[in-house]
Symmetry: C2
Subunit: 379 residues, 2 copies
């Protein structure tokens, strides 16, 4: 293998695939980044047991030359070292040359690295994805979907399926739901160009979705192609392919968790409520459970918390709408702040079905988003 490539393109590509590479792996070859130079460009690959990322540098792009291939070939290089050294090379051009003993020369300006490469034949093949079930979604919408659901997945492995987000693709809609059994987040959106062989249900690991969000660049209006199989999902964006394994197991039916009735409904400014809870949490988090109290009566909503050692805090918000019974309820400050921080709307409507029943938070103006948190008994 012998090629020359623009440093900035190489830096971008390495940064992306590094997201899939873990230093803790049972397969040493997977600590490396695989570099393949072919007739149309250079592909970098990183992989762990859950996700794999391919980042492609085309020979030419928008009329600019990115790379020249002298001899096609492939090599695997230690990823952490390679990503650091590429960033620190002195010149705009990087020349890469691999000899028959896998010794890889990386030359830029007056700098010459000579690295011991790893055997690319040992690098596992990525899953072969059959592109039968495909749909498209705008990149910014995909990022929003992930952000507004993935925070609610379980982090403990007690029920592994709950560490993922359930996606249901049906009738040109994608519905996402996540729950750790103390809270829940769901959102649905319309999708485009869906080629479906009937409805699909799949559970994507939460950490995969977090990494996906990080590698999607800011070109928000672009479409992402999503390919589904039984055990893998593939996201294809501009020059990037992101593979994730899917989770096995039956995801619980979450619709039964959501109360259909409401005893008290209040409307509040999203930010005002968030900041009031954040301040109350300053004392609440010094106690073990980070619980804040909410009392609502008339158009007054009082947020409070206390710490035996440190003191108390009270804050009164004025609600723009109050319906139903006066209310006293307690909940996790963290869970409420997590939910509110995902809301883009100026105001939220909160439904309380009773002091020990789930609290439902909805952004006013978007019926496709629903967040739920369970209260905590303190009164």
């Amino acid at each position: 293998m012998k090629c020359t490539v623009l440093k900035e393109k190489l830096v971008d590509a390495v940064n992306r695939v590094m997201k899939a590479i873990s230093s803790k792996t049972t397969m040493p070859i997977l600590t490396g980044v695989k570099i393949t130079s072919g007739s149309d460009g250079i592909t970098l690959t990183g992989s762990n047991s859950d996700i794999s990322i391919k980042s492609f540098i085309p020979l030419e792009e928008d009329g600019n030359e990115n790379a020249t291939i002298n001899t096609p070939g492939q090599i695997v290089l230690p990823s952490r070292l390679f990503s650091e050294l590429v960033r620190k090379l002195p010149n705009d051009d990087v020349h890469i040359e691999v000899d028959s003993r896998l010794i890889t020369k990386i030359i830029s300006g007056a700098t010459e690295f000579s690295l011991n490469g790893l055997d690319p034949e040992e690098y596992p093949n990525l899953p072969i994805i059959n592109e039968n079930d495909v749909f498209k979604i705008r990149k910014d919408l995909l990022k929003d979907l992930v952000r507004q659901t993935v925070y609610a997945v379980a982090v403990t492995e007690t029920r592994p399926v709950l560490t993922g987000v359930k996606w249901i693709i049906q009738d040109s809609r994608l519905s996402c739901v996540a729950t750790d059994s103390h809270r829940l987040a769901q959102r649905s959106v319309a999708i485009e160009d869906a080629e479906e062989s009937g409805p699909h249900t799949l559970v994507i690991p939460g950490p995969s979705l977090n990494e996906l969000s990080k590698i999607l660049d800011d070109d928000d209006e672009q479409m992402v192609d999503i390919v589904m199989t039984n055990n893998q999902i593939l996201f294809k964006s501009h020059n990037v392919q992101f593979y994730s394994r899917l989770l096995d197991g039956n995801y619980p039916d979450t619709s039964r968790l959501i109360p259909s009735d409401s005893k008290t409904t209040i409307d509040l400014g999203t930010k005002a409520l968030y900041h009031a809870i954040e301040r109350a949490s300053l004392l609440a988090k010094e106690e073990r459970n980070n619980v804040v109290k909410l009392r609502a009566e008339g158009n007054q909503v009082e947020i409070s918390s206390q710490s035996l050692e440190l003191g108390r805090v009270y804050e009164t918000l004025v609600t723009e709408k109050f319906e139903g019974d006066p209310l006293r309820i307690s909940f996790s400050a963290k869970f409420m702040m997590d939910a509110l921080s995902k809301v883009d709307a100026q105001n939220v409507r909160i439904h309380f079905a009773g002091p020990m029943r789930p609290i439902i938070i909805r952004p006013i103006g978007d019926e496709n988003i629903l967040m739920l948190i369970l209260p905590i008994r303190t009164f």
Copy 2:
């Protein structure tokens, strides 16, 4: 105590004094911040066994009102909580009121905190400083002095006096020197308005100087008043007082460490050399000792390093001046990078007195700065 103060002024003052407050202390009262409201303004104090910081908020400044005092008094509040909550208060004004049981109300907008204060009578007095020996130095020069010397102090306590920087004030000059016995940094500057009772030598703990640098704001042309006593040093800048204890013990005579002869002298671009060593260090740091090699002959300087596992790196720099014998020498990449990163000049002159004798680095154009590192035997 009862007063009202601008939130932004309070945030600034708390951030400053927090630098002196440690959560690990044998005196619980010192985990708190002391607030004193007097007739001319509000003073915040933070302290640990090494340093104390006072930050003063005058009632008025530049024609703007900062604070109103209703009742003078003092209180000590848990510092971490107080600094977080002040930042998160909703309004520009903060009202503070302390009752006879030390319960402290902090009110801003619709938020009301009620904190359990600590007894200010238990707060230790700051050292009383006799202002006999005083001099002035420009703030930006003081920051440069600290930056260019403190990095070379010892971090282990084998010889406690080496964890400080030695300051000698004599004949209207301040000379600073630091060494951990593997490297050394020194710089001298002219000082102003010195009222000295003879020459002074004092050793200031390195960590104190680092904290001092952090709390000095960017108003670089201001003068800092420096007051010396036998066991304390006091830095007085605009509305801030910074006290540090001094280190006991005899600081070694470092002048004997500096070779007066030179067998090889080379001039190099500061940044080019820094980056070449940084790249070589990528492989060197994978080995235990992070050692890079330098070979110089004619006008060529080769920087190299290798890791048995990963590979090698070579880089050739062209020197603008080469005098003396050809040279092969090895040294710590970290020590050389630490030194070069403190140089503002475009080029450095490096003197080598032999493969196992100290290396002297000087910025070209500033004779008042000298850096020394010991080589490491590898050839």
